[in-house]
Chain length 314, copies 4
Amino acid sequence: MSTLSAETSESFDRREFDRLFEEVKNWGRWGSEDARGALNHLTPARVAAAAAGVREGRTVSLAHDLDTVAGPDNHKPALHYMSQCSDIDDIEPRVNMDFLGMDFHGKSITHLDALCHCNYQGKLFNGVSSAEAVTSGGSAFGSVMSASSGIIGRGVLLDVPRSRGVEWLDPGTAVHPEELQRVAAEEGVQLSQGDIVLVRTGARRRRAALGPWDPSNFSAGLFPTVMRWLHQHEIAVLGGDADSDARPSPVDGVTSPIHALALTAMGLHLVDNVNLEPLAATCAELNRWEFLCVLAPLRVPGGTGSPLNPIAIF
Amino acid sequence: MSTLSAETSESFDRREFDRLFEEVKNWGRWGSEDARGALNHLTPARVAAAAAGVREGRTVSLAHDLDTVAGPDNHKPALHYMSQCSDIDDIEPRVNMDFLGMDFHGKSITHLDALCHCNYQGKLFNGVSSAEAVTSGGSAFGSVMSASSGIIGRGVLLDVPRSRGVEWLDPGTAVHPEELQRVAAEEGVQLSQGDIVLVRTGARRRRAALGPWDPSNFSAGLFPTVMRWLHQHEIAVLGGDADSDARPSPVDGVTSPIHALALTAMGLHLVDNVNLEPLAATCAELNRWEFLCVLAPLRVPGGTGSPLNPIAIF
Amino acid sequence: MSTLSAETSESFDRREFDRLFEEVKNWGRWGSEDARGALNHLTPARVAAAAAGVREGRTVSLAHDLDTVAGPDNHKPALHYMSQCSDIDDIEPRVNMDFLGMDFHGKSITHLDALCHCNYQGKLFNGVSSAEAVTSGGSAFGSVMSASSGIIGRGVLLDVPRSRGVEWLDPGTAVHPEELQRVAAEEGVQLSQGDIVLVRTGARRRRAALGPWDPSNFSAGLFPTVMRWLHQHEIAVLGGDADSDARPSPVDGVTSPIHALALTAMGLHLVDNVNLEPLAATCAELNRWEFLCVLAPLRVPGGTGSPLNPIAIF
Amino acid sequence: MSTLSAETSESFDRREFDRLFEEVKNWGRWGSEDARGALNHLTPARVAAAAAGVREGRTVSLAHDLDTVAGPDNHKPALHYMSQCSDIDDIEPRVNMDFLGMDFHGKSITHLDALCHCNYQGKLFNGVSSAEAVTSGGSAFGSVMSASSGIIGRGVLLDVPRSRGVEWLDPGTAVHPEELQRVAAEEGVQLSQGDIVLVRTGARRRRAALGPWDPSNFSAGLFPTVMRWLHQHEIAVLGGDADSDARPSPVDGVTSPIHALALTAMGLHLVDNVNLEPLAATCAELNRWEFLCVLAPLRVPGGTGSPLNPIAIF
């Protein structure tokens, strides 16, 4: 705990943050109209290579069950209603149907953040004005439609608690790039262009053991400098078992520095609330921390993201 | 048109239907508790083989955009509301968020039918009583959770209008197994165990050209005997650009015979309202009608299916 | 029909409209902070007088049934799902519960328009900037909370088709103030301060006879000069069996002139899609076109209106 | 606290409960088809008499603001989304619109319980089988449509904490009929046929002072024998600032005895989560605990109740 406290007490100056923001900024890199950002790193060749890595044909879901019960980490419970049971139609065959509703951003539902989800100082990725692009009808820039053909690539799990020999990282912990580099090395993987990188903090294992808490105030995540490291490796997507941000935030005045650096500066899509427990177990069992990873967001014109069931295929 | 009329006038006796139902029935085949049905055909080895077939790394989405506008084929328009724009929070970074809602069964949204979606004479797949399994809280049997680890396998497109040299099949057309066999042969593919078979009727091309109509009453689809053929080939999933059923139904007193035969008798998951137009174009361009196909339904406990963005990877 | 065509061909110049807007404008009349507008005409004394007018104790609902089926005049069908039936809880007593959802503005649901529902040239009632007051979180000015203590007053039905001796006014008809004055005189009522005025065009009777159509393009309603007359009489609320606006609009470039004049200029709340058929029958039967009228909108902070079941008490 | 503990420790035998259920049962009283139950007590003459009691014309809302934030007493937060702001349409006038959604039963939203909301031993009011009447499409018996013409009558507030000289009754307290009779006498009111009786426990005042808690487990309410007293007085509706039931329940094996006795046995509609604080203040100020009370539920075919803004008019 003392080590963790040391980590969490570490802070990152707002000017340092702004410098880092400029450093990892991909604005204009793929043209002024580009709305795919770091997905451009995931070339067809990378997709094909990722598929070629499949061995056993074993599949693992990286999503949580949709949760309709309110709780400390589920302020906007999902809606699930049977819209019709077989008790009302008088035909053959009879059908059962249901309605789903969700305000999916938050700490419960596994979801993809589209680039338009987050702006810093009024600007979305590529310098687009959020106020101009986003109306009550949705976003004209960087919506989830930028990923509508699916994101298929090599997934890499960086399992930090496993490396530390602990069950989970305490909420508040911010992981540094040096540690992630070491974890990767221990796992025998090397980040490369177009990777879908998933960082495990063990948040859900802690939840299973100790019960839910509010990750808006207190969560394990990444220290801002991790984004420099990921930027250098030209990854395509970043995901985590929480929302990648450590809280309390290491950056004064920036509540979600990872979101700002990833979505806004780098154009790097995020996957939040990924269920990494079964994946971690499978990786450990197979002694392999890379896999084919599939993200298939719903096609929502103007949407800020999508609920998701990411699948890992070994 | 005269040929098509001949097809549509053809009917299938209710007793013939019931005999066919018995013939293709997989109840008990994988144990009395089984709720995966024909997904059992999709073994890890088949998954790995499908992944190994990827060449170019090109991905194609098989979903339609979520449609929030009511119409003849969209009686239950999807809900999409911005739940928060950057105009109300006073923090950095600012966020844009949205709410999605959908009663996804119907003729608009691309979706997976779980086995519990449909019963015949009160029985779900494996003989489970629908009235007992399905409550207002969802289904205790054959929910979409049976496919929660994703469905990854070899996809095969059977492009009927292409084979016929027409733009689309007229609504009301019921395609016979002999024709599908011929289409497959022309495409150079052979159905095999665990396949995800997608049959194109050109419904959406017709819609683009002539405008929407109500497919509940009038749609191109499959003649019931197609299910015998698919049963013999032990496919894992069946999809179509409408909902696989021809309407008016060829079977008197059974409005959706394909649904009953697939979901209820065979335990064969269906994918409805698949967008096959871009896929057909890609297959024709690459002269290849097989691909890696990924279905990643949302994890909805008790759910009768899920909206979906199926992805084809070449 | 020729008479009606004459009426509908009549148009109202945009400059005339703007002059009328200025003429009936109540901005500042009740202070610069006021958000109740013409509700200020409905003083406690008027409320008490209206209640004193009750004779028989007979009540009539002025709302339509919530309609969950999409149609030409119901683009956003209401959602109604059983959220729990008695089939899942194992306690005594058992309960049945349901979920309601509605995007209530439109042509189907009986609802109150709050003053913030409508702006003209960017300004809400009292000159408030719509862009500043209304965010994705709701409206900070003129929300339905301005009427949250209910609107109780004397209701007056002006039954135009009855006066004309027709079943309904043809869509496109715009009623003039002279006619409404004559209708009132025939009914033996005189408009007075604080009245809740309901104008019947017979739209729903036409719908029952001929089927639904899209009132967005074609509806009977009021000619703009009616608002001068209503302004002079200092009424508190205006309602109609459609949405009070005639369409095609008599004013070039202003699609809903009555909405702009009422909500924005006068601060006059509107009630749309009122079911006036049972009310008209009761009025005729009792030979009395005034009654106690009760509007009890839901308390929605920031809301732009509310679904409603207005009640007339005779 | 010791007094309250004495009260709460008091229990009511299940057999006593069943005897009381039989005693207050109104099944068949208004015919075997009747679905209005105790609303039959509210005759037109009673409506007129209630209206005649209005003096000052002062109106008070008895509803809480719709609450979109989850909490201990708000497990199913209401949905409120702007469906359109003036930022997307390019016409005059421009409009702001919103979507409302609610699963209104529970402890947050002020709502009416329809008779079909609750069954005891499988039977709804009048002996109707809940399993037969209520399907996934709604209830064919005792829906909120039974009250669709509105409930207008004399309201009576029984302010228990005021009588006791306390701020609120502690959760767990069950009020007995003798006390309510004494409260009424102190207030100078006598219950009579057709009354809408509202019992104040001060729950919301406690909430304002101490914060929310979960009333499902712990709430002040009525002791079962109160229903005998209300039955004798032939009241039409019962409401409370919680849900009328004391919890923990005084009846072993019956979690909501008041609901069962009222809705199921007596056919007495309930209003839950009524905001009685402003009403209590007004009553005390005017030294009058009776008023015209208006309940105008939404017209939801098959609905189990309705969100509501009850209005008191003095």
